[in-house]
């Protein structure tokens, strides 16, 4: 996979979370008129994976009703867009926790490796995994 999309409730806040807390790099930040921007980031060790931080906003794609539903579902933590692998989960966990990232599951040994779960600023949850 080269591109994926994460729906976020506020692009400015998502920008801060993904760059300053997760340490991702900005790949594209293109102004698209007054109230929109094309914003993509990449994990620091995986520059070939471009993650679009796509705002949940009324437009051709989402009606007002859909925006309301999506906002509710994302906030409630209904979506888990992916798994991030790291080389040292305990160090990554300690660092993210010290930066205020909310973990819903601390590093836990599972049959497939060690895993923790954290939420982004919108409510999307991700798995942090170490083999």
């Amino acid at each position: 996979m080269t591109n994926m999309c994460v729906y976020v409730l506020n692009q400015d806040s998502a920008f801060d979370f993904y760059t300053n807390k997760l340490g991702f790099k900005v790949k594209m930040d293109v102004p698209m008129g007054a109230n929109a921007r094309w914003l993509t980031v990449t994990p620091p060790e995986q520059p070939e994976l471009e993650i679009t931080l796509f705002p949940v906003a009324v437009g051709r794609m989402f009606s007002e009703e859909t925006v309301k539903t999506m906002t509710e579902l994302i906030s409630k933590g209904c979506f888990g867009p992916g798994i991030f692998s790291c080389t040292d989960i305990y160090a990554t966990y300690e660092e993210l926790k010290s930066k205020g990232v909310e973990f819903v599951k601390p590093p836990t040994k599972e049959f497939y490796g060690t895993e923790a779960l954290f939420k982004d600023d919108s409510g999307n949850w991700f798995s942090l995994h170490q083999q």
């Binding site: 698209m32 080389t87 040292d88 305990y90 300690e94 590093p107």
Partner: protein, 151 residues
Amino acid sequence: MNSTTEQYPKVYLYKRVVQAKLFIDSHYAENIELNNIADEAYFSKFHFIRLFKSIYGKTPHQYLTAVRIEKAIQLLKADQTVSEVCYAVGFESLSSFGSLFKRIVGVTPSAFLEEQKQMKIQMAKAPLMFVPGCFAYQHGWNENSNFEIVP
């Protein structure tokens, strides 16, 4: 399947190395001595370097250099001049900054700055050139004549 959330081994070591890494992240612009960082983590220099490298894959010095260059990239993207950036990220001479930047990024800081300027001009003129068509369509951006791609 069983899962366990046992307190992981040597948690205090992790916390100290992570604190040292965060110290570099926030003090990269200063004249950081390795001994200061090791002191910050309460380790002997040798033990600290070994632990840091085993966690982050780089020695503290290599990591500090990587942070400085990454910050330099961000500042150049924000239109700061090469000399402003050089000193803002902790280098003491333009020549050492320039040669290190070129070795890591592949172009000189001034060439990088010029590339970024040109890209911003293009972005302002034809933003849809930088957005995959499927997303632009779904967002309705390609209906706005201001965003049309200039041939």
